[in-house]
């Protein structure tokens, strides 16, 4: 009864309080400030009649105190321009707190400077060039929001457009004015007569296959036939595809490199002012397709399969290890000596829910597997003796600094490179595999950095760091004086879309170029662990021949599917494309443009299995070439092998460089 009385009293008081319809009022209601200014808010709690309520505390919170700061008394200080938000709260221990959301408008400082850069030293009549416009304000901030209008004092000499291009119309002097409101900057230019009297275009090849790169050169000369080396030249192309319903697409670079996607006739034009020269070339089908056929299958249909590795054991037979995903921490060992008869020979179960990655030492004696989802949350790695893969035995478990989960790992020269908590990788000496010890660590210092994979080859660790792209780290190569104890980063490339999942180094023997093949991992449609799935993303080919100036030059993108792990052998790329199965790609010669459109795909095979963990739902994880067979693991069906038919001579007449 006592409790009931209390409840009634509480409800009555609450209903009266609510009926008072209290609210927070703040003066000024419309807050407009200048950068650096302060403003004291006059806030109070009032009832429905507007009467101020005493003894109500007020608190102030800024959503971005680096832009607008507010102290406990309601004093605002504006630090950065823009529209910002604060809330005023009147707390109440009975739960009837009040809240008012307010916008704070901080005016942008006035524009003070407009800069015009990247103006050619010599401007020839008839040419067009872009300039770089930079607008700065009183806070010395770059103002990309400020629109700038370019005008010319004499349109017979120069004209301008809305995209910061200046067209040199004729010889003479002109003043180019850049204006934003009342701020102007003037640029005096002098257009000189164009000495070019002749323009010629050439290329080493007159015909090639789709995907082959032409190198066009343009030579400008004056009336006397002397070269004009500083004449600005632009290249463009138009074409007619052999297939009447296909676009004659391709890619042309500023330096005259051109690649065609479709067979057909293409005309490349070089122009410099009023002069132009063209050359027409023939592009033939690449004609590289071959058959690929399934050879064998080792089924795993009780759980998802993750990564795998195939190796020659110390007994000369061939073996594979596969991990499992979102399951019971099992890794399976297989005899794949006969790829048509893949036999499960042993398994190891560890405390984990995902064994995401597995690797084998160069001598075939040591297997390392990663742990995620351990019940004791210690995760780490497990080192296994696979001298006899039929009797795989755990040597040690190592968790130091790896408790956050190891998503990927690599083994190289008696060291394990193990990712830790998606932030860094540790380098662990396993010369004594029973007593691993950390000897080094690599971690970026960028804000919010992450890491997804690491691959080591020739003493260089290639770490894939998502938004931060690939980092090449000397861990014994010598290029930067690094070692496992002292890893030294020496090159980096990041692409704007981020989502960088894995890197595979590719030394092109046919061109002597060095590429980093950088893969995305994207799931634009999510992932249903119990159903068919589709992935997205592609491989980025980055020319690292000049380590200091990496150049993203090509891509391999399969429509409707997404890249995952891959393998390169010679000039062939074997890439697991999740729902797209395994794709075998010709990456011979110079690479440029869209390799898929160029018909460089040689073959593909999709591991659909009606008896899979999820039936008929291919989701290929990785691929590896081993002794002439393509092995690949599939998330829903286990381990597979396939055979690509040998390359046959093609009846194609192609000039070689």
């Amino acid at each position: 009864m006592k409790h009931m009385s209390l409840l009634l009293t509480f409800l009555l008081i609450s209903s009266f309080l609510l009926a008072q319809d209290l609210k927070i009022e703040v003066v000024p209601d419309n807050i407009q400030m200048k950068v650096g200014a302060s403003l004291a808010l006059d806030a109070s709690v009032t009832d429905e009649s507007g009467k101020k309520i005493d003894n109500r505390r007020l608190a102030y919170y800024s959503f971005d105190s680096r832009s607008v700061e507010v102290d406990s008394t309601g004093k605002l200080t504006a630090h950065l321009p823009g529209e910002h938000q604060i809330i005023v709260v009147s707390p109440s221990p009975d739960g009837n707190y009040l809240r008012k959301d307010m916008k704070v408008y901080v005016a942008y400082p006035p524009v003070t400077t407009i800069k015009i850069d990247e103006v050619p030293e010599k401007i020839y009549a008839g040419t067009t060039f872009p300039v770089k416009i930079t607008v700065m304000d009183a806070m010395d901030l770059v103002r990309d929001d400020a629109t700038v209008e370019l005008t010319s004092s004499d349109t017979k000499v120069a004209t301008t457009d809305a995209f910061a291009n200046i067209h040199a119309a004729g010889p003479g002097k002109a003043e180019i004015t850049a204006r934003h409101e009342d701020i102007t900057t003037r640029l005096n230019i002098e257009v000189v007569p164009n000495p070019v009297a002749n323009l010629e275009i050439s290329s080493e090849m007159n015909q090639a296959r789709t995907g082959d790169v032409f190198h066009f050169k343009a030579t400008a000369s004056d009336a006397e036939g002397s070269p004009v080396s500083d004449a600005p030249v632009t290249f463009s192309f138009q074409g007619q595809a052999d297939d009447v319903s296909s676009s004659a697409s391709g890619l042309i670079k500023k330096d005259g490199r051109f690649v065609a996607d479709e067979p057909g006739i293409y005309t490349v034009t070089a122009s410099s002012g009023p002069f132009a020269a063209s050359k027409t070339v023939k592009v033939l089908p690449r004609n590289v397709s071959r058959k690929i056929e399934v050879v064998g299958h080792g089924s795993v249909n009780t759980k998802h399969t993750s990564d795998f590795w195939v190796w020659e054991g110390i007994d000369g037979r061939d073996y594979a290890v596969t991990g499992t995903w979102g399951a019971d921490g099992t890794a399976y060992f297989w005899d794949v000596t006969d790829p048509s008869s893949i036999k499960k020979i042993d398994s190891v179960q560890v405390d984990a829910r995902t064994v995401n990655d597995v690797k084998i030492s160069e001598d075939g004696k040591i297997c390392i597997i990663s742990r995620e989802g351990a019940s004791n949350r210690k995760n780490g790695i497990v080192i296994i003796d696979v001298s006899d893969p039929s009797n795989a035995e755990i040597i040690s478990t190592f968790t130091e600094n790896l408790t956050g989960g190891v998503h990927n790992l690599f083994i190289y020269d008696n060291h394990v490179y193990a990712l830790s908590n998606g932030e860094k990788y540790y380098i662990i000496n396993i010369e004594d595999p029973a007593s691993p010890k950390i000897v080094g660590k690599f971690e970026l210092d960028t804000p919010g950095h992450a890491i997804h994979d690491v691959w080591v080859e020739d003493g260089i660790a290639y770490s894939s760091n998502w938004d931060d792209g690939v980092y090449m780290v000397d861990v014994g190569n010598g290029i930067a004086g690094g070692s496992p104890e002292n890893p030294v980063a020496f090159a980096n490339y990041e692409y704007p879309s981020g989502a960088h999942h894995a890197t595979f180094p590719f030394h092109s023997q046919s061109t002597d170029k060095f590429y980093a093949v950088m893969g995305d991992e994207i799931f634009p449609y999510g992932l249903d662990v119990n159903s068919f799935n589709m992935a997205g993303g592609f491989l980025h080919f980055v020319d690292f021949t000049d380590l200091d100036n990496p150049d993203e030059i090509a891509r391999f993108e399969v429509p409707g599917a997404g890249s995952h792990n891959y393998w390169i052998d010679g000039d062939l790329l074997y890439v697991a494309y999740y729902n797209g199965g395994v794709r075998v790609v010709d990456i011979s010669g110079e690479l440029m443009g869209d390799l898929y459109k160029q018909g460089r795909e040689i073959a593909f095979i999709v591991p659909a299995d009606p008896d899979g963990y999820i039936p008929n739902a291919p989701f290929t994880w990785g691929a590896q070439l081993h002794k002439g067979h393509v092995f690949y693991s599939d998330w829903n069906s286990g381990l597979w092998s396939a055979k690509l038919e040998p390359e046959k001579p093609k009846d194609v007449n192609v000039e070689s460089k």
């Binding site: 709260v89 707390p91 829910r353 989802g373 019940s375 956050g404 919010g448 938004d467």
Partner: protein
């Protein structure tokens, strides 16, 4: 003559209807609903218990990186029951706070927090949400933070630096103080939910020792600078100098819960097989309650009578009578790795999340607080973790 439209009469009508509804609710059969995270499945389950049997009625996939485990860890329901909030531990590298509708279980908003965000709660006094950034796998010498979030706009307002690996956290019944415990530095923090500043900090190892020593606050056993860390098996690589200065909490507090009267908080001393009672007025340990192995999460029934503690290492749950200050029941959980606790608002049941090992399904054990018996178990995705009581509904 009574005028039913009179404002006073309107309120009387409201009260009478409320009482009738409450009475009716007490008589009719009731269904209980909890939200539970499945940390290694990247899903959240809704579990319904009808008084006899519990079942998972909905499984909600969460996260954005499908091929990786993002680890849904902490979960809380807004005071009005309209929203549930979820912390996803693993990001790139920061974790994320999600806001869902309880009506549709669809995402309404997100905001990035610190590394491995974990437990959280909304202050009824300000409406702001407080979430600890556990940073479980981070540097054991670096303090982490409590994120303060406006749950309306899903904006992080402030990060309050606290201790190393803050895990358990709860807000006082009046909403004015947030309590969190830092597992590795062994500290209890009290944050003013209005000023967003730390008001008090308590070294729990020293406070517990002081209680046992009759109030003396010296603790020579915790002089870590004098310890032989090499002999303790620590790595000798480049963090050795930092290790020499770090404090290793012996008691490793993993959870804190204020009593409903707001006078005390109870701390799970995971490393010391006990629950510490802290007197908030005195700001010191007022009792040490021996428990099973690995006390992990603690909750108290709304009426203040029962304290329920999961014993993670023993796969058991203890029920304590707080009037008698005595453990009155110890229940075997349905499988290994007992984790979280949620209490029904009517003081009748405790819902225990149980992780399992490997590919064991996660579980929710329902325990009758009056009988101290396991009533039913519902299964969900792997590694059941964070758990939050949502509502009681009259059965149709």
């Amino acid at each position: 003559m009574l005028n039913l439209n009179d404002p006073i009469m309107k309120r009387v009508k409201f009260l009478l209807i409320s009482i009738l509804l409450m009475t009716g609710t007490l008589i009719r059969a009731q269904d209980y609903y909890v939200y539970v995270t499945a940390e290694s499945e990247d899903e959240v389950a809704v579990v319904k218990f009808d008084g006899e049997s519990a079942e998972t009625i909905e499984r909600i996939p969460v996260g954005v990186w499908p091929a990786e485990n993002e680890g849904p860890h902490g979960i809380t329901i807004s005071p009005d029951g309209k929203y549930w909030f979820l912390s996803l531990a693993h990001g790139n590298p920061y974790g994320t706070l999600y806001k869902f509708s309880t009506e549709t279980n669809k995402v309404l908003g997100t905001t990035e927090l610190g590394i491995f965000p974990a437990s959280m709660q909304i202050s009824t006094a300000t409406g702001l949400l407080f979430c600890v950034n556990f940073n479980l796998h981070g540097d054991m010498t670096v303090p982490s933070t409590v994120s303060v979030v406006d749950p309306v706009t899903m904006t992080e307002i402030k990060k309050v630096t606290t201790g190393v690996m803050p895990h358990g956290s709860r807000i006082s019944p009046d909403g004015m103080r947030q309590y969190s415990v830092a597992m590795m530095s062994g500290e209890l923090f009290e944050i003013n939910t209005v000023s967003l500043e730390i008001e008090r900090k308590l070294d729990l190892d020293m406070a517990a020792e002081a209680f046992s020593n009759g109030g003396k606050e010296d603790m020579p056993a915790m002089d870590h600078a004098a310890m032989d860390h090499a002999a303790m098996g620590h790595s000798q690589h480049n963090q050795m100098s930092a290790h020499a200065q770090m404090k290793h909490s012996k008691i490793k507090p993993t959870w804190v819960i204020p009593s409903p009267d707001g006078k005390k908080v109870y701390v799970a001393a995971n490393g010391n097989e006990e629950v510490l009672e802290i007197d908030l007025e005195e700001w010191k340990v007022s009792n040490r309650l021996p428990t099973g192995k690995g006390p992990y999460n603690v909750e108290i029934s709304p009426n203040g009578r029962y304290m329920v503690v999961t014993y993670k290492s023993d796969a058991q749950t203890g029920i304590w009578d707080l009037k008698k200050m005595k453990e009155v029941a110890r229940i075997d959980n349905s499988q290994k790795v007992s984790h979280g606790v949620a209490m029904s608002s009517d003081n009748k049941y405790a819902f225990i999340s149980v992780e399992g090992i490997g590919d064991d399904p996660g579980a929710v054990d329902v325990i009758d607080l009056n009988t101290g018996k396991l009533v039913s178990t519902a299964h969900l995705g792997k590694q059941a973790g964070g758990i939050a009581f949502w509502k009681i509904e009259s059965a149709p």
